[in-house]
Amino acid sequence: MVFSDLFFLLVFLPLQLVTCAFVKETPKRNAALLCFSLFFYAWGEPLYVFILIGMAFADWLLGLVIAAYRGKRAAKVAMIASIVVSLGLLSIFKYTGFFAENLQAVFGVPKEIPHIPLPIGISFYTFQLLTYVIDVYRGQTKCSLRFHELLLYASLFHQCIAGPIVRYSDIQHEILHRKKNYTTMGKGVQRFCVGLAKKALLANSCGAVVDMILLPDSTLADPAKLTDNLQILASRPILLVWTGMLFFMLQIYLDFSAYSDMAIGLGLMEGFHYKENFNYPYTAKSITEFWRCWHISLSTFFRDYVYIPLGGNRKGARRTIINLLIVWLLTGFWHGASWNFILWGLYYFIFLVLEKTYLRDLLQRTPLILRHAYTMLVVFFGWVLFRFTRMQYVGVVLKGLFGLNHSGFAGYEATTVLKNNLFFLIAALIAVTPLVHNLRLWLEEKAKYSRRMLQVKKVVWIAAPIVLTLLSILSLVGNAYNPFLYFQF
């Protein structure tokens, strides 16, 4: 189940909200929330839900050991054991196939490549539990004495399956002492509706254009269709390939940030405050800045739990670069078990190192608009590596972007697709900028001084979430399948 399933929206969510509205005491509400969360997870993974529970149980025990033996060797052993178990399970489920495939390609063994289905959200909840164990070890957070509280943290349906990667220390206090009031709940509703509309109205429509031009993932993944797919992709004229990739660039941001919006909104409805996961990354003026604004919970995770423990930038220039390399290889590999993601990580590593060294002065002297253009171009080409897991497709699309497939510049299809989606494209471009956000702040400010504006605010604030939800429901009916892109990681 994902947040954009009608079943979630019209069955799970009302049941959960109504139940929690009637349960006043926090511990009881937690129990209800835990039941709903486990149900939510089991709905997608009826068997693997036990991995989630088992992992949380192991980390709960190890957390107790760490707290009991603080400063002693046993604490360190317990922490290492937890890391080994968590990353070991993640590796088995996520990377076995990849390593087997590459070993087979080089050495001819193993004969059979195992196909292990990936438990939903394992990449996210593994990292969440890691933050818990490591933070307990570091003494930055208290260990959880009650298992069900830790399990609630790990399985909370708001963020369990697609992030943001919420740290235990961020919500530890709120698990037992959160306040629910009209303001946070209203804000939560507002945020959730915005996220829903971003997903159902904008991201899904972008996805339809992308799939039409660059073929859907299911078609690309079919090895029997490889030749046909390459031929179709090669037949697209330059303008069409650029259009397709532009819509993908919009789609991935809108889709993923929509999920985070919805998670944050759901959290607020229950009195949890999760940190922001995006900060308008497509307005960034350097790659460094882009990564400060994109999937913030993941980059800060790697910063705090990999980069800094490795020594960060405190051990000289060479070690800094090696540390960055490790972080970006891992970031790439975390996104998926295939070479394109590793290359995608390396690609950003190169630009980040360049920006720290050769490009630093140059960038400072460059006008803002050019810096922004440079950043967007780098990100744009990065998404080519990201979308296609087969390198043959990456190759043919890159060639297509530069006209090396000799399929012409524009053509009727390209101009028609652009015209058909022109107003939508403008709306989607506005949605990736802070324009609407600033408009909201402006209206809020005006409403402090004028009664009329206060009334305008009232109407907009009340009507907008409802209108957005209604429009989203309309677009989700009859649309049987609309997974989130980040759902697969």
Binding site: M1, D5, L6, F7, L9, L10, V11, P14, L15, L17, V18, W43, G44, E45, P46, L47, Y182, T183, G186, K187, V189, Q190, S205, M212, D228, Q231, I232, S235, G411, Y412, E413, T416, V417, K419, N420, N421, L422, F423, F424, L425, A447, K448, Y449, L454, K457, K458, W461, I462, P465, I466, T469, L471, I473, L474, S475, L476, V477, G478, N479, A480
Partner: protein, 447 residues
């Protein structure tokens, strides 16, 4: 110095803001609860979409395997959104919203591969015999599923104003296979029946405005038809209807919301067929006319209910011979049904009105006309384009055996001998001649 503006008193602002938040929560909850209630009004859930011509996702069956693999729950999600109460109305409204996304002609489904060049030089007939089905599989790739063959793959669609057009991409391999199959049928029927072949062009090359047509990447159907006929042996009488349809292009000869031709378009093809049989065609006015309004054809669903198409439905004008004709069709399950050449579809679904012609697509249909020469018997081998043509053919033959090769099992050669058929007419729309799975079905009935 700028005068500092006076703020609204804090208590009022606070009160209003609280009221806003309360209203937000209440209206959101109300919406969810209403949605919850509606979604469980099970009798309101549709099981079939007539406009999309498909059964909607059924509620999944509960098995142990489905339960622990999670596919049971996925199935519930699918069922839940696919069969939502009032789905058709909601999908229609959503189509209207989508029409605001941009402007100009609309394009749907950019799935086609590059078309083959149509060879210009003179050609010799395809003589290589197609020996068995496996060979077709090999030459054409692609596994064939009997159900898939039924649904016409519409490929890329272009909507200009209130009319949609299907892009056609020539495929030399499939076109050659088609010619080969017809050649082989003609050779097997030598001395039994005369074989005619009629390729129906689609609207994009006939009625699409020229200024739009020049912009599209769609193979020339005039050239494709000329090429395919050049690959046929002299035993096959080719009936080229391209020019006559072009001459009447300003008339209502193709539907705007559906991929078929209208009966009027089929009438001109009938006239051309008569000429190649050296028979005088009857005038359209000698046929009995029926009118059915409000036809929303296949392009409506294919374009996800494009608002221009939805708002401007077609009208079906149907014609039948002025005679005491009888029609019996055999369904896929073997049942026979007495029907009429033109059925009354006034109360049928808007998407099903093309079924006015000979009761729609059935494996086998026989039409008898007591007023036509009783010794003249014809087999009409067709996919759905043939339906609109069949009533006119019935004016010329005492018996017309309509065979839909996609569903019928048997041998046309044996059937012709058994029933004393003297004329075999293949009517295939041009899109069928690029569809390898249809070729397999056609091959099967010509053995």
């Amino acid at each position: 110095m700028k005068k500092k503006k006076k703020k609204i008193p804090k208590p009022l602002r606070k009160r209003t803001n609280r009221a806003i938040r309360r209203a937000q929560i209440r209206s959101f909850m109300l919406l969810l609860v209403i949605g919850f209630v509606i979604s469980w009004l099970i009798p309101l859930r549709p099981v079939r979409s007539e406009s999309e011509k498909r059964d909607l996702t059924p509620f999944p069956t509960l098995t142990w395997k489905a339960l622990y693999s999670g596919s049971f729950f996925d199935g519930i999600n699918m069922w839940f959104s696919d069969t939502f109460p009032f789905r058709e109305a909601m999908v229609t409204v959503n189509g209207k919203i989508k029409s605001l996304y941009g402007y100009g002609n609309r394009l749907y489904g950019l799935t086609d591969q590059k078309a083959d060049e149509i060879p210009q030089e003179e050609h010799t007939p395809v003589m290589e015999p197609i020996t068995n089905l496996e060979e077709i599989d090999e030459t054409l790739g692609e596994a064939i599923n009997a159900d898939n063959a039924v649904v016409q793959d519409l490929g890329t669609l272009i909507v200009v104003d209130d009319a949609a057009y299907e892009v056609y991409n020539f495929s030399q391999k499939v076109a050659d296979t088609y010619a080969g199959i017809i050649n082989q049928a003609a050779s097997s029927l030598d001395g039994v029946a005369q074989v005619y072949d009629l390729i129906v062009p689609t609207s994009i090359d006939i009625t699409m405005p020229d200024n739009e047509r020049v912009k599209c990447n769609s193979s020339s159907q005039a050239e494709a038809i000329r090429y395919i006929f050049s690959r046929m042996t002299p035993q096959v009488h080719s009936v080229n209807v391209y020019n006559i349809l072009r001459n009447h292009r300003t008339e209502y000869i193709y539907f705007r919301t559906d991929h078929h031709w209208t009966a009027r378009g089929a009438f001109y093809a009938y006239a051309q067929f008569c000429r190649s049989m050296q028979v005088q065609p009857k005038a359209l006015s000698t046929f009995k006319e029926h009118v059915f309004e409000g036809f929303k054809g296949s392009f409506v669903a294919e374009s996800h209910k494009n608002a221009n198409l939805v708002n401007h439905p077609d009208t079906v004008y149907a014609y039948e011979p002025n005679a005491e004709t009888t029609l019996v069709y055999t369904e896929k399950n073997g049942n026979t049904v007495n029907w009429s050449v033109i059925g009354d579809v006034t109360d049928w679904y808007a998407s099903s009105k093309y079924s006015a012609f000979i009761g729609g697509d059935h494996p086998y249909t026989i039409i008898k006309n007591p007023d036509a020469p009783q010794d003249k018997k014809c087999i009409l081998v067709k996919e759905s384009f043939g339906n609109a043509l069949a009533p006119f053919i019935a004016a010329e033959f005492g018996e017309v055996h309509v065979i839909d090769y996609r569903y019928w099992h048997g041998s046309i050669v044996a059937f012709s001998k058994e029933h004393g058929v003297d004329t075999v007419l293949f009517v295939n729309n041009i899109s069928a001649t690029r569809n390898s799975s249809l070729m397999k079905s056609l091959y099967a009935v010509t053995q």
